[in-house]
């Protein structure tokens, strides 16, 4: 049985929080849908890091399972998102998130 070497869990969580905020900033500010998807990936990875961190902290494997599931979901979401972007591109639609605004009130 080994103890955790290196920094405490709180450091990992700080990194995870930073990653999450950075990804959020990207989603909120960028207009290229591809960049938005990439920023979304950053956010998901931040969450994953927190999960793994807690899993190690509590000695419970469930966090890692959860992280794997998140990874699978992220992959699926990227598939669909990229499919959409490709379809938009085929229709010669401007790839600008702000231009895709027909759902307005």
């Amino acid at each position: 049985m080994t103890a955790l070497l290196g920094p405490e869990i709180s450091w990992y969580l700080a990194v995870s929080g930073f990653l999450f905020a950075t990804g959020a900033l990207g989603v909120l500010l960028r207009r290229n849908p591809l960049i938005v998807l990439l920023s979304l990936e950053i956010m998901l990875n931040g969450g994953n890091l927190a999960l793994i961190g807690f899993s190690r902290n509590l000695g419970d494997g469930g966090g890692q399972i959860f992280a794997l599931a998140v990874m699978a979901v992220a992959a699926s979401e990227v598939v669909v998102g990229l499919g959409l972007v490709v379809a938009l591109n085929r229709k010669r639609v401007t790839l600008d998130v702000d231009r895709l605004n027909t759902l307005r009130g």
Binding site: M1, T2, L4, G6, P7, E8, S10, L13, V15, G17, F18, L19, F20, A21, T22, G23, A24, L25, G26, L28, L29, R31, L34, I35, L38, S39, E41, I42, N45, N48, I52, S55, R56, N57, L58, G59, G61, Q64, I65, L68, A69, M71, A72, A74, A75, S76, V78, V79, V80, L82, G83, V85, V86, R90, K91, R92, V93, T94, L95, V97
Partner: protein, 186 residues
């Protein structure tokens, strides 16, 4: 907190390098205007994260991260970016002025909150990590969990992947018609 021992110091150094790589690549992803560069930065991010996972005794997840995420998902991203080509007409940023301010505010608030929580409240809880044995995080360990305690998650995940695959096929299918006029969006 700073327990100085040989193994520990090594871990600390690796941690610092990996953490900064992670943060830097994360900022790079949201900053570049060329999506290709952003994707590459993301790959770097994923790699550094894998290192961090290894430090947390999550071997299988680290491997999966590199294989699946960096290896498959990012390759798909790069394929699509390459396919779409240099059509980066969209400006880096724009839209309503309050959007930018609000975004910075919201993201900043989130970060501050997380740090505050970690710093103030949860230090007591997080101070002590469990001691784990050698098998923690090994593929066998994960596999056993997948097939016993978390079987439902396993099955549902597989369904999600199936649905996504179908969705991807549908979205990507070529239409028989000729490309239509660009529908007016404004």
């Amino acid at each position: 907190m700073l327990i100085a021992s040989a193994g520990n110091v090594l871990v600390w150094i690796v941690w610092i390098v990996a953490a900064f790589a992670c943060l830097g690549s994360g900022i790079a992803v949201v900053s570049f205007s060329n999506p290709f560069y952003s994707a590459l930065a993301l790959i770097g991010n994923l790699g550094s994260l894998a290192v961090l996972y290894l430090l947390l005794n999550a071997e299988f997840v680290a491997a999966a991260q590199v294989l699946v995420y960096a290896g498959a998902v990012m390759v798909m991203f790069l394929f699509v970016i390459a396919y779409i080509g240099p059509r980066t007409e969209s400006p880096w940023m724009g839209g309503p002025s309050w959007q930018a301010a609000g975004a910075v505010l919201a993201a900043g608030a989130l970060l501050v909150e997380i740090v505050v929580v970690i710093g103030l409240k949860a230090s007591g809880h997080l101070a002590h990590s469990e001691h784990v044995d050698q098998t923690f995080g090994t593929p066998a360990y994960i596999g056993r969990l997948f097939l016993t305690d978390h079987l439902l998650a396993f099955e549902i995940t597989s369904i999600v992947l199936l649905v996504a695959a179908i969705g991807g096929v549908i979205l990507g299918a070529h239409s028989r018609r000729s490309p239509e006029e660009v529908p007016s969006l404004r």
